[in-house]
Each structure stands twice: as structure tokens, then as C-alpha cells.
Symmetry: C5
Subunit: 353 residues, 5 copies
């Protein structure tokens, strides 16, 4: 997870200049068109964007999906045909946008972040999804071919649910709903990692645990940044007075808004937990060190005085009366045993044993 | 306490699809109907939901209570008969909702969280309670048969308090009041645990204490998430301009709102306390380690030099004049005693003894 | 300081049921009546509440003071006579309310918290004071006979200040002012304790200090909860459009509002300080441990190598040439002295001595 | 820096009673009058406040400056002559006010805090400055003779800047500006102390450093409390619709408002820094302890095994074959050397050397 | 990075006095004029400011750029000619302003902070940029000759983008956009440093790491102070109802506002990360100390008892039966070996090895 994508290539260019910023996640750009009314349905994959243009003026609902945003030339063509603002086009190509919603009267522009774990399940990948909701069409831009929108595709094909009966704004809502629903998957995996770490935390914390907590903390900061602005985006859509958003869709937007709040709530709770884990870790380490210290102290405190006594009678003075005593050796062994017993009692009393 | 319930089974389904999400807490679904006016009273348990439908159109107040939300078919039937929005039905079956209030004009939908400790008193269990307040009826959905609403049932049966004189909105209020009142029980138990831990904390902190603090902290995060949204829910009901909420009930809603604020206040105070406990724990552990280190240092500092002196006169050099002295041994013993006395004075001055 | 008062006895009772919750702080209930205009003054102690009822309808200002709120029967009688809402009566008897202000049109209800230290000055005691401000009367409920309102009594008796010239709302203000002024006394004592602890903190921190900081922290959480809602209460009174609050009193309310803000400010500052103290404590303990470790390390580092050398020449090998040398013993003593000097120089350089 | 000034002497007195609270910072009260228009200028020091009264009704701008607020009798006289509210007079004498602004229609009352370091530069002293802005006059109350207003005096005398051309509200602004500008001096000194501490912090932290950080932290809390309310005061003046504030002065108030925000910003930054310093301190101490521990461990780990080996051959068993070997002694010395070399390599690998 | 620039030289001067505060970053003041319409273009460098004055009244768009703000005399001349408010001129010369926007009706005044790393890339340098947007002109003040505005200069020269077609407000927007874009460069470098530190953090933390974290933390506080006010500045420009800001420019301002929010978001995330790093550092150090302690304890715990046993048989008592045994020596060696094995098993079980 890179902290930032390099942006400086753009520095100094006039605003509205189309430059792709971000990792190129797919080689070719794939364009698919789905066109439907309640009765009719048509789906095709085209190779040039121009083939999609005629659909703008039909009365059917048209979904133009574009996988890959590095082809700035094509984005420019779309911009020209659909009369989109150059700053909007720039935002599509520049994949480090913050989630946002802008109402351009003729169309509404929405930027969202899709999150998924990479193949190893080790790192969260972020993909920018841009939506343009016009009168009868939705254009969606993804950074690479994804499967999050497949269920929607299926529902349109199979005329499942109410999607075929609704207009373009419901389609846009369906995309947002799919993305927000996907966040729960991420949260579940994070929850699992938190629970695993918590078990490890109090019982046997290692420096590996510390690294894991630190990474988790970082991911939380990251997640937070992706989901917080979403609230504003969706409530903005709901409160928008645009004619593009039908009254009947508002209830659905309220529902996805509730889900967003739930995602945010969960992220915040996780953040609190992870932050508490570091404190617990530190306490746990101190605890362990205390244990280690006690063992050392007990051993040292018992044997150092004994060794000293042994040292006394190891001295080579010519006049040491005890050395000649018959029971000197056994006496001294007994004294030592008494010292050990005394020490053990002392430690018991101090609760160290 | 699971961090999250698995939700992914739902991923990709169209919004408004009825899927039960959550643990199935009861096997069979139990439906009870209570129907009353100030004068009349009728109570029965039915086996099919259809038996409850006629009550919709009577002018009496009807309370339909459903224990168990995993029977999505039945929820669907209710939805059809009472003309409820599909998204609402989805929320009833999906038991991981955030507390919320939605005004659908014809009826008001409220989701609440009931909290109780499990049998062992070790873990907080959350149950989702959904209420639908219509013109003359309240439908309540619980995840399992509970006893929190029993006192209300008793009051209706016995015509105690003003409940039989009031309308359906007061009944809905009574449910909310019962749930919020129940929170105080939870808070009391948490308070008790905090007090026990605090005693343990400064005097004899163990790694068990740490685990307990950590768990408490987690529970606080959890509790907080359940009670915070409640504020908005209840103030929303109070401020709602729905005709379903009578003027006279508003004062009662204000009262339960005050209780909610008090619950939130208490949770926040507890959170502050628990968070402070971890710091105190760490300090306490450091304190103990300091004690241990002092004992070690005192012992080592006294005996290591003495052992060295004994070592000197244990050397086997042929020419060591002291060894031949008549009082050498006793002299050296005196020197050692003096060193011990000097050390003790030094430690006294350093406040280590 | 109990974290929570037991409330569960009330669980399940219908709202508006009068149950005394809290410690019974006085045995008998004392009722005193003070009735005055600018010219006239009358004061009496009555035994039954009924004797106070005639004063409701006089045009003089009447202050009915009731010490003890466990007599729910009496509260009920007052409620009936003065036409008070049952929820209000419940709040009076239930002494774990949050400070609040409610405008019931005919009268205004205010709940406040009086704070004082117990006899030993060790713990903060909270007492709930409820005020009912009507057209010509103020009814005050205290948990036990207190002396905070005595100066007001004196001012009324002696016609000092402007109190006798003003109406019932000024009297209510005087109560609030007296209570808020009393908070400063608490804050002073807390300030004193903080200062004492701070002196102890850096110089000679013990586990007693830790306990004291922890208690202080807890008290701060507690204090905060009592004073924060006050702000809303008093600003609510000031902004209220009730005819019960005269224009001329508003300036006084603004003044007591300023004092409240000052109390809150001070509590927040104290909180910050106490919270900083725990960090300082931990640092201080670490510091001390560092000192202890240094002593141990110096002693061990000097004497362990010397003891080893002595050990070498204590070995009983038959062929150890040094043992037979004439100056062997003295040479070895010199070597040891050199090692000591070297070590001391090393420690000096490391700034450990 | 006392945490709180004793206030309890006032407890129980009716509101509006004049009692001086605070340290008496000057013995005698000094009254100076400056009266000017663009053309004329007059300055005199008077001994009784009555001499200042005629200036109230002249059309010239009059500045009455009073150094010393313990003479409550005099404040009362001023109150009577200028028809000031008793609560306002109380606030002047009670020097523990929070900065505030009150618009009494006929006049505006402003309380500010002047901060300066004591002679030793060790402690921040707070002085309360109260301003009364009337139609043609400003009355300023200081706790003692100060030099912060001297430059203003000079500008009036010398007719420098635009002060002589402006009215009384500009004069009041000039006072506020002078006080806020003075805060920067305090901040600079604090900045210097922070920088000195930071150098000390990472390199050679002592318990003196800890004490200094703790004091700084406390001062920050203190500073914050003085400057935060200022924002409201000045923005209140700017937004006030009083006729006493001329349109032309508003721009100047906006400027001093900007400065206040800058002061607050800086204080907050400092607070963040000081708070971070304690964490760094703790880390630094732990670091040092680690160093100490390593030295101890290295010495102990090398010499304890060697001493043990020497101990073995110091035993007096009659049958110890090695003792009789010709090269036993040298062999054993070699073995010891090898052990030392092994240990050193091990520590090198562990990065402890 | 100095915490504060000395300001006290200004203390006592009347407001609106022109004094340069800050480091003099350039010796001479350089004045360049660019004057253009869509068709025409003129660029020249002048030596006296008076040469720039005629451009005020032309209908072309004029950009007067001044590098160096220490020449207060010149600023005064500009102020006179363009009728600027003296407080504004003061703000230009006083380079420690907070970013702000002020609408003076005839012109809009904007203060911004330009950030760049010094040549060594070790420290963030702040430069104040002031903009005055008038009807047909923009005057920009920089502290020294910079290259951030060069791309804009190039675009005007080359008539690239839409800048030549737009009016003065677009030019002002272009400056703000250039500055905000430049922040991303700073953020990238900070991100790099954070990533480097994080690698160092868990694996091999040294006191150098601590210093680096501390510095980073300080820089974050600093950055934050520079970017937060920007939000208000730009949203202020967008919402301003000034005729100087054209409708068409508002969309561009919204775009740069989005960028600002992104900068702030990133700074906040970095802050969170850096703050977490200190905690991780402390944990990591504790971890390492634990390792060290374990090594010491293992060595000491194994060898101290063995040394004691050797000491026993090094005593010189005449009657020690074991000394005469044939296999005494070997027996004792075996006993020692068994102790070692026992210890190792114990440590294995305790997970210390």
C-alpha cells in the first residue's frame, strides 16, 4: 500500500489537462454497452467508443461501462460527445481523487473508491470508480475489469428485482450500493485479523505482533480516508434537487446511506480497537519483562549470598578456626539451606513465586 | 462477542431481498396478539400470521409481537398485508442494523438494540428489536422470546398505569422505554466490573487484569456503538411531525430521551475510566518492576564486592603477606562488615530501603 | 464515590411511578416555608405539606423548601396540589438525574447537582437539588438539610441585596447562583490536591502517588459529568421565552452562565493536568529505574571482571608460573586497580557517574 | 502560577457585592486622565476619582485609566456616576474573570487578560484588564501600573498614527491590539524554551528535563484558557450592532481578530509539540535504559561463564586430572579466550556492539 | 525550521505601520509586468514600481509580480496608487500571516503559504505569497524569486490552455492552483520519509529513529497550520459575492477546493501515522530490552548456581568427605550438566529460547 501515488508529472500543466495518474491496472480498454427498458434488452462489447455514442439520444436506459482509464484520448472523445466539463475528465483519469459528488445540472458526476484485498489477502487495493449519470444513461469508469458490477449485470439480463422497471438513476444507485456492500467484505476480513491478533496479543506477543498491529493501524487510517467522504457523497445525492434523481430512488439512497454510516461506525470501532491494542501490547511486554526480571532476581538473590559464603571459606588465610572444625562443612551447608528457605519465604510473601 | 456477523451471503443480491443475517436464536417463530381499549382486553397466541391480519382494521390498539426473524416468508406476508416497503422488511431480517428511525408516512419504522448479559454474565448479547408503529397497531419483531416486554404485557393485562388509556404511539414508547431502562442494568454490571478491576489494578496487577481491561475496553466500544445512534432515533421520534405521534406522548419521549442521554453519558464516563485504567496498569507494572530491580540491585551491590574480596584471598599466590597474619581473617571480616554498613547507609539515603 | 446507584428496583414499573432511588440521606423530611414581599416577611417550619398549600395562591413570593425526597407520598401530594406532571415527580424522587431544565408552561422544572466534600474531605458527595419555579413560588427539594441556601435565607430575612424587591424567578436564580458558587469551593480543594500531587510527582513518586492520580482522574470524570449539562440548563433558562422569567433576571442568568463556563473551563484544565500527570508519573518511574539500573550496572561491570581475575589465580593447577613470582600478588592488585580506573573513566565519559 | 485564586471569601454574599478577589499588586490606586480631539490634548494625574467625572459629558475623547482594582469604594463611585451595572463592577474587582464582552447598550464592557513573564522570566503572570467603552470615553482598569499601554499614550501625545483622528471605539481597539500584540512576546519566549528543551530531549534527558516539560505543559493549559475566549470577545465586538462601534473600526477589529486566531493557532501547535515531547522523553529514557542494560548484559554474559570455569579449577577435589597436566593452565586460558571471542561475535551479530 | 519569527520589533507601533518581518530572502526587489488579452501579449521587467502604474487603468489583464517584500517604501507607493488599505500593506510586509482572504469590495486580498524543501531536502521552507485581485489586474508579492509561477508565465506566453481567454480572476485562480499543486510535491517527499522510517522502526530502532520521528511530528504540526486555513480561504473565494469573481471561475475554485481537502486529508493521515510511530517505537524498544534481559537472565540463571557449586568445593574445610572421593570431581561435573539441561528445558517451556 503506497502512501501516495506520484503526481508531480502533472505539476505545471494547465488545469483540465488529461493525464493518467496511477498504476495502469489493465492493458487494453474494454467497453461494454447494456441498453434496456422493462421489455427490451441489448448487450454488446464494442472496440471504439464512437459505437457507444448513438445511445445517448435513445429513450432507453443505457449503461456504458469502460474498464481502464489510462486511454486519455478516448476519455476526451467521450467528454466532447457528452459535453462534459474538462475538470471532470481530468478527475476520471487522475485516480487519486477523494470520493465526491458534483452536480453539473445536465449530469451528475460521482467518484467512488472500490476496495478489495489483493490475491494474497495481504493488502487492500483501491480502485477508483467514476460514474456519470445523465438523463437516460450512466457511464461508469473502472480502473480494470472487475466483478463487483457483475451481479447488477445479471439482474438486468435476467430482469430480476426492480432494476429493469426503473430509470438511469436507479442504475447509478445500484452501482453505489454494490460498492458499499463490498466494503462489508473488507470489514469482515479486517475483523478476522483483529480477532486473531487479539488472541496473540495478551498471551504471546512477539515483535511480529507489533508489526501486524502497526500495519493494521495504518490500514485503518487508509480505510477511514476512503469511507468518510462517502457519507457526504451519498447524502449529497439524496438531498440534491436535480431532476435526474427521481423521488422513488431517494428511499433507496437513504438505505445505502444507512449502510455507509454503518461502515463508518465499524471502521471507527476498529480504529479504537487497534489503537487500544498497541497500549495492551506495551503493557503485555512490560508484564513479560517483569516476569523475566523476577526470575533473574530470584536466582541472583538466592545464589549470590551463598556464593559469597562459599568464597569466604575458600580464602587461604592460615588462621581460620572454622576450617578446622569437625562439623564446619556441614554447619555451613545448613546455614546456606536456612538462607535459601528464608529467601523463598520472603519471595512468597512478596508474591514473586 | 463477534466483531461482525457474516454478511457476504447477501452480496450481489438486489436491494430489498429478504435474507436472514445473524444467528438463529430461536427455532420456532412465536406470534402473540394483544388487543385492547381502555375497557376491553384480548390476548392470544396464533400459529399463522394470517390470523393477525384482521386486527389491522379494527379501531382497538393491537400489538402483534413476533419472536424470531429468520422466517423470511412470514415477514414477506406481513409486508404485503401491511403494505410495508421491501427495504424495511430487509432491515428486519438483517439483524446487524444500526438503531434507526424512519418515517414512511403511513407507519413509522424503528430499529433498536436490546442488550443483555449471557447466562454466565461474561458477555454482552445484542438482540435487534424492530418496531412498526401504524395507526392502530404496533408490530414488534424480536430475535427470540424475551422478558423485557413482560412488564408491559402485565400492565396492559392489569390496566396498570395509563397504558390502556393511551393509543398505539404510547405503546411504542413503552417498548422503547423498557429497552432503554434495561440498559441501566447492563451499566450497573459494567460498573461493578470496573470497580472490581480498579481495586485489583493498583494493588496486584497481573496479566489477567490486563486481559480484563482489554475486554472491558472492547465492550465499551461495542456498547457505545449501540447507544449513540439511539439519541438520534428518539429525538427524531420526538421532533417528527407524523400524525402517528400524539402531542401527549411527546413529553414521554422527552423523558426517555433524557434517559438515553444519561446512558450515553455513563458509557462515555466508563470509557474514560477504562482508558485511564490501561495507563494506570502500565504505571503500576513499571512500579513493580522498579521494586524488583531495587531488590536485585541491593543484593548484587552488597555481595558482588564482598565476593570479590573473598576471591582475592582465595588466590594461590605464594607471596601474599596478609594470608600469614594472625588476625588477617578477622580483619577481612570486619572490612566486609564495614562495606555492608556503608552500602546500607547509601541505600537508605537513596530511599531504596 | 459509587459509580452508579442501583436502579433496577424500578425496572418494569410504568413511567411516572414514584420510587425513591438513591441513598436516604436524612431520616425525617423537613419542610420550611418562607413568604415575603419587599415589605413583609414570614418564616415557618411545618410538619405536613398541606400547610404549605395555601401559599400557592397568594400574591407574595413563597419559597417552600423540602429536605428529603424519600417520602414519595408527600411528593405525590405536592404534585396533585400544584398540578405537576408525573414524570417530573419521578425525577425528583429519582436522585440520579442529569442536570436539566424543562419548561412546562405553567412552571419551570430545574434539576441541579450540589457537590460537597464529605467530612474527611476525601470524597465528593453529590446531592440532587430540584427546583420548581411557578408564578409566585419556588419549591426546592434537597436530599438532606444543607447549608448552601442559608445565606439566601439570611438575605431574605435581613432584606439584604435586592432579593426582597424581586420576584420568584430571582429567587430561583439565587439558588442556582449559590450552587454554582459552591462549585468553586470544590475546585479549590481539587486544585490544592493537584498541586500537592505535582510536587510529589517528579521528586518521589510512589505507588501511593499513582493511586492518588488515578482517584483524581476518576473524580474529574465525575465532576465533568455534573457540570457540563449545567451550561445547557442555564443558557436554556436565559433563552427561554417563558413569562415566568423576567427581563431583569436575564442579566443575572447571564452572569451565572459566565460562572458556569468558568467552572467548566477549570474542570477541563484540571482534567488535562491530571491526564498529563500520569504520563509524567510513568516517565518519572522510568527515570528512577534507569538510576537503579545504572548503579547495578556500574557495580557489576567493575567487580565481575575483577572477581574473574581473582578466580583465575584461585585455580589449583600445578603449573601456574605467576603463582610463584615474588611480586605476582602485587602485580595482580595493580592490574585490578588499573581496570577499576579504566572503568570509572568509561562511565564518566558515558555520563553515568 | 497558582491554579486558582481563593474565592471563598465571597461565598454567600449577594450577587453584585463588590469584593476584591486576587493578589493586591499595587499599594495605591493611580488615576490618569487623557483627553483629546484631533487638535487638542490634555493629560493629568488626579488623586480622587471625582475629578474625572466632568469628562463624561464633554464631546472630546476621554481615557480614564485606573491602576489598581482593590479600592472597591472608588469602583462603586465610578459605577454610580457612569450608571454601570453592579454585576459589571463586581467583575472588575474580581480578577479571576474569563475574557468576555458584554454589550449593555449604553456602554460595552470588555474583560481581557494581559500576560507577562515575571522579572526572572520563570513564570507567566496574568493581569486582568477591564475596559468600559462609552460614547466619548474609555475607562480602563489595570491591576497595577503597566507599560503595555505606554506606546498608545505616546501615540496620542505625539498625534502619531490615526488615533487622534478617531473616536473612543478606536481607542478601545488600540488597547485590545496592544494586549494581543503582547501575547506574541510571550509566545516567542515559550518558543525559545521549547526549542531549548527539544535539543536537550533526545540527546541527554534528565529528570530536570521532565520537570521542565511538565511545567511547560501546565503553562500551555494555562495560556490556552486565557486566549481561547478572546476569539469570541473580539468577534463579538466586530459583529456587535452597537452604535458605539463605528463602521471604520470594524476593519481594525477584523485585523486584531486575525492576530488572535494566529495566537490561538500557535498555542495549539505548541501544545501539540509539548505533548509530543513527553512521549519522546519516555522513549528516550527507554532507549538509554536499553543501552545500560546492554552493557550490563555484555559484561555479565562474558565474565560469568569464565568465572565459572575458573571456579571449577578452584575446587579442591583430590582427583582432578587436568590440574596435574603440564599445559592445563594455558589450555584453560585459551579456552577462555575462545569463549570471549565467540561471545563478541555473537554480540556483533546481534548488533549490540 | 524556526518555531516563530521575531515580531517584537513591531511592538508598540500603531497598526498599519509598514515593517518588514521575516528573513530577507532576496537582496533586490524584482518587478515584472505581464499584460495580455486573448490576442495581445506584453512582458517586461521594470526597475521602479511607478512604471507599473499606468496598467491599472487599461482594459487588458495585467499581472504585476513583485519578488521581495522588504522594500516597505515601494509597498507604500503601490498602496497609495491602488488605494489599498494600510492594514493590508502591513500584512504583505509581515510575512508571518496566517493564510487568509479578505474582500475589500474594490479588490480581494489573499495571503497564501508556499512550501518547498530547502536545497538539502532536509527542511521545509515557508514563503508568504500575497495576491491582490483587482478589476483588471493581479498583483502578486513573493518573498523571493520563485519558479512555481513559471508554468503559468509559460502558458500566458504560449497562449496554452484557456488562461488568455479568461479574466483576472482566472489568473488569480491559476496562482492558487499552482501553490496547492505544489503541496503534493511536499506531501510526496514526506510520504517517502515516513515509509523509510517505518521500515527502520520495527526492525532496528535507534535513537536516530526517535529523533527523526520527533522531527517529522513537528513538521506535521507545522504543515497542518499552513494548510488548514486554506480551506476557508478557497471556500471563501468560491462563496464570495464579489463581482470580481466570475461565475465561470467558480467551478475552477471548486476544483482547487477539492485538492485542498485532499491535501488536508493526507496531512491528517500522515499525522495519525507519525503519531502511531512513536507508540510503535516505544513498544519496539521495550521489545528489544526484553530480548536483552532474556539473554542476561538465561546466562545468569544457568551460571550463577553452577558457580556456587564450584564455590562449595573450593572451600578449604579440612573435613569435606566428597573431596576425597575417587569420582567426586566427575560426579559434580555431571550434576552441573544436569542442572544446565534442566534450566534449558525450563527456558524452552517458558518460550525464552
Amino acid at each position: 500500500m503506497k502512501l501516495m501515488k506520484r503526481k508531480y508529472r502533472k505539476l505545471g500543466l494547465p488545469p483540465g489537462t488529461l493525464v493518467h495518474i496511477g498504476e495502469k491496472k489493465t492493458e487494453t480498454v474494454k467497453i461494454t454497452i447494456i441498453d434496456y427498458t422493462e421489455k427490451e434488452f441489448q448487450e454488446k462489447e464494442v472496440t471504439t467508443i464512437e459505437e457507444a455514442f448513438p445511445f445517448r439520444d435513445t429513450s432507453t436506459v443505457t449503461w456504458i461501462n469502460i474498464d481502464g482509464v489510462h486511454n486519455t484520448e478516448m476519455i476526451e472523445k467521450i467528454g466532447k460527445h457528452f459535453a462534459l466539463h474538462p475538470l471532470l475528465l481530468e478527475d476520471i483519469a487522475h485516480t487519486e481523487q477523494r470520493p465526491k459528488m458534483e452536480d453539473f445540472k445536465e449530469y451528475i458526476f460521482v467518484v467512488l473508491k472500490m476496495l478489495y484485498y489483493d490475491e494474497n489477502g495481504a493488502e487492500i487495493i483501491v480502485e477508483q470508480v467514476s460514474l456519470i449519470l445523465g438523463k437516460n444513461f450512466v457511464i461508469s469508469f473502472q480502473e480494470r475489469e472487475g466483478d463487483v458490477f457483475n451481479p447488477i449485470r445479471e439482474r438486468i439480463r435476467g430482469a430480476k428485482g426492480r432494476i429493469r422497471k426503473m430509470e438511469a438513476d436507479y442504475l447509478a444507485y445500484a452501482f453505489i450500493d454494490a460498492i458499499v456492500d463490498h466494503y462489508f467484505l473488507i470489514l469482515e476480513k479486517v475483523a478476522e485479523r483483529i480477532e486473531n491478533l487479539e488472541n496473540e496479543l495478551v498471551s504471546r506477543p512477539t515483535s511480529e505482533t507489533l508489526r501486524a498491529i502497526h500495519n493494521l493501524k495504518r490500514e485503518m487510517i487508509f480505510l477511514r480516508r476512503s469511507v468518510w467522504p462517502l457519507r457526504e457523497v451519498i447524502s449529497g445525492l439524496g438531498r440534491s434537487e436535480s431532476v435526474l434523481i427521481k423521488k422513488s430512488t431517494e428511499l433507496y439512497l437513504r438505505d445505502v446511506y444507512d449502510h455507509t454510516i454503518q461502515v463508518i461506525d465499524t471502521v471507527e470501532s476498529f480504529r479504537d480497537m487497534v489503537s487500544g491494542m498497541l497500549d495492551t501490547y506495551l503493557s503485555s511486554i512490560s508484564n513479560k519483562m517483569n516476569e523475566v526480571m523476577k526470575v533473574l532476581t530470584i536466582i541472583a538473590t538466592i545464589f549470590i549470598p551463598l556464593t559469597f559464603i562459599a568464597g569466604i571459606y575458600g580464602m587461604n588465610f592460615q588462621f581460620m578456626p572454622e576450617l578446622g572444625w569437625r562439623w564446619g562443612y556441614f554447619t555451613i551447608l545448613c546455614v546456606m539451606a536456612l538462607i535459601v528457605i528464608g529467601m523463598v519465604i520472603y519471595f512468597k510473601k512478596k508474591n514473586w513465586l
